[in-house]
Amino acid sequence: MDGVSEYLKQERDQEWRLALRGNMKNKERTQLERVSMREQAADKRNKNFTEVNLGLLKEQAMLEAQRCLDCVNPTCITGCPVGINIPKFIKKIEAGEFLESAKVLKETNTLPAVCGRVCPQEVQCEEACFYTQKLKKPPVAIGFLERFSADYEQNSGEMSVPDIHDKNGIKVASIGSGPAGLAFAADMVKLGYDVTVFEALHEIGGVLKYGIPEFRLPNRIVDLEIDVLKKMGVKFEKNFIVGATASVEDLKAEGFKAFMVGSGAGLPNFMNIPGENYIGIYSSNEYLTRVNLMNAADPAYDTPVISGNKVAVIGGGNTAMDAVRTSKRLGAERSIIIYRRSIQEMPARVEEIKHAQEEDIEFMNLHNPLEYFADENGRVCKMKVQKMKLGEPDSSGRRRPIPIEGSEFIIEVDTVVVSVGVSPNPLIPQSMKELEVSSWGTIKVDPESMHSSVEGVFAGGDIVRGGATVILAMGDGRKAAEAMNRYLTQ
């Protein structure tokens, strides 16, 4: 840790940083208002799939960068799971050196354009910012600034490709191409390893491609970041399921020395209530995959999706928000969130809830589905819901929902999306019997090294955490890379 603070201090003492700090008094800086993100008007954007957030203008970014106090003790960094040198990248923006700023991001973050869009900054870096902690003011808009620099670089046509060590010819594999696998691959290829990423689907990116919708994270942005990895020499094998197309043993025989399992939490949960298999009832994974990965909303593509008129989405997480906002964009008259706790307990990001509310999404909080009913063709047409009230906090610290007897009633729906969580993808544990898993099916690892119970097999991301965030998955991937490098060179 001392090494890190020493490094941060040296960086902070550089002349250009000193000069910038001298330009403006802290008092003036703290007087500036936090920028607001430009966005598409709510009544327009809920009819299209283009991005809601439009990014900061150059002037806005430079002004917001002035708010950052370049703290002696930059607590913001401790809130970032991949430890971005936050004041340094922000001060590069203040200095107008945007490409340089993007380089700083890429020292530790392989996917800055992605994280700047989807990180729950309000509970990570921005939560730990001096403004939030000490001044009780809105934090520096670290996420918006990160997105600004990353986008600036992508649009400049001068994507920098990080430096790479001499090749050492050692073959290592990532199983899965989600954020955990991509972050791992980037670090290993930088260290000189011969890295192959195996992906079961026909697209690279995991949830970034099949889950998170275009209006929050365009696939084009993800592809541009993946292109950099390709330029760095990472190999990608799509349509390849490790454990089916070839086993880990087969790959060892082909010369792979170590593995990082980043296979995600891809198994959708259902509630197991009557009628849940009627036509028009989807898991959020299926609904979002049809629309995002298979482009079902575009008639030029072959995959169909039912675009209902009265859509109920069950759940309160990011996935539920993505599904309900997607349904509105597919033309639904009513798109309703049904969630058993109150709005305060919803796990979705604050920004997603706010955007959904603006987009005419109805919220039925403190309601829970009990049963579905279908018409003569088996298509869902009604559902029974029950009102809930909040009781004492449970083990998670959130107040427990309690059903109110006799409060059941019927609402009309023609499409339902069940978004009540996912379980760890069982493919890898099933194909490697000696791999230790928890009772929930997550892979057990040493928290320091991400090493599993099988020699040379590391794991990270949702397959270990059972559902987390992009940046935590990336942090795991980086940790696994570091430990794997030690393991292979000791």
Binding site: N277, Y278, Y301, D302, P426
Partner: protein, 277 residues
């Protein structure tokens, strides 16, 4: 991208394709399937692996034209590339020598039934196969089934070929005639339902290979879910074969029709925009 190296028409509506897919060829067993996508805008559909050749590193698919995607695949020629092929998926068939096996296939189920019949025969079983269709022209793969069965019984609704009657009538004839140790049924859900009711009546254990709709085929989406023994199962990872007497075929029938309207429309549009010479 997987190259087509051989193509053969079994009939106008059924095509055999041999594709390069060395890794899949190495690891596949009878009952496994692949998910195939053709074209950048294509849909992902499941197809049973009908055979494999380890030396050539190839797999064989037998595809029946029923809609847009299956027709696009059947229209590909030797040398063309199939955009995506992933597998082997699902649990392999439990192949064992049990004695006499009564296999029944109809409609979309005849192609996936072929490799199962082949494997059961190879394991030393006496295999009697009943093939059913509305009329003569719709009977497919008869010759291939004969190659791997001890007896093939053909049933047509209109009596234009084989015997007149439903698949279950052909099956019952065999059941009344000799001891059947296992029944296997693959076809439209309604056919499997009645086959299963029949064998249930005679206490014959029965396997149904379910051909539900699928998207990813890896257990990620739940599109393929069915109720088996009162529990929700995912056909792509828990199946495709299940104890037929436990399957809720009525629910499966409904779910198969999820996109019926839009699919029929899409197929008509496709045929109109790609007129045959």
């Amino acid at each position: 991208m997987n190259k087509i190296i051989e193509k053969e028409y079994f009939s106008e509506a059924v095509v055999k394709l041999v594709l390069e897919a060395p890794a899949i060829a190495r690891n596949r067993r009878a009952g496994h399937f692949v998910i195939v996508r053709t074209g950048d805008k294509g849909e992902r559909i499941p197809l049973t692996i009908a055979g494999a050749n380890l030396e050539r590193g190839t797999i064989t698919l037998v595809i029946q034209k029923v809609g847009v995607t299956s027709t696009k695949l059947c229209d590909l020629e030797v040398g063309d590339l199939v955009t995506d092929v992933v597998g082997p998926l699902g649990k392999p068939t439990h192949i064992e020598k049990v004695g006499t096996v009564l296999a029944s296939g109809g409609g979309v189920g005849v192609a996936p039934l072929l490799p199962i019949v082949e494997a059961l025969k190879e394991a030393g079983n006496r295999v009697i196969t009943v093939l059913a269709a509305r009329k003569r022209e719709l009977i497919i793969l008869e010759e291939q089934m004969r190659e791997h069965s001890d007896e093939v019984i053909i049933m047509t609704d209109d009596g234009s070929y084989g015997k007149k009657g439903l698949v279950t009538q052909g099956m019952e004839e065999v059941i009344l005639r000799e001891k059947v140790d296992l029944a296997v049924t693959v076809g439209p859900a309604v056919m499997m339902k009645f086959c299963s009711l029949l064998t249930g009546k005679y206490g014959i254990s029965t396997v149904a290979s379910l051909n539900t709709l699928m998207v990813d085929g890896t257990g990620m989406c739940g599109a393929c879910r069915v109720t088996v023994g009162g529990k929700t199962k995912f056909v792509c990872v828990d199946g495709p074969e299940f104890d037929a007497h436990q399957v809720d075929f009525d629910e499966m029938m409904l779910r198969l029709n999820s996109y019926k309207l839009s699919e029929t429309e899409a197929y008509e549009n496709f045929l109109n925009s790609n007129p045959k010479p």
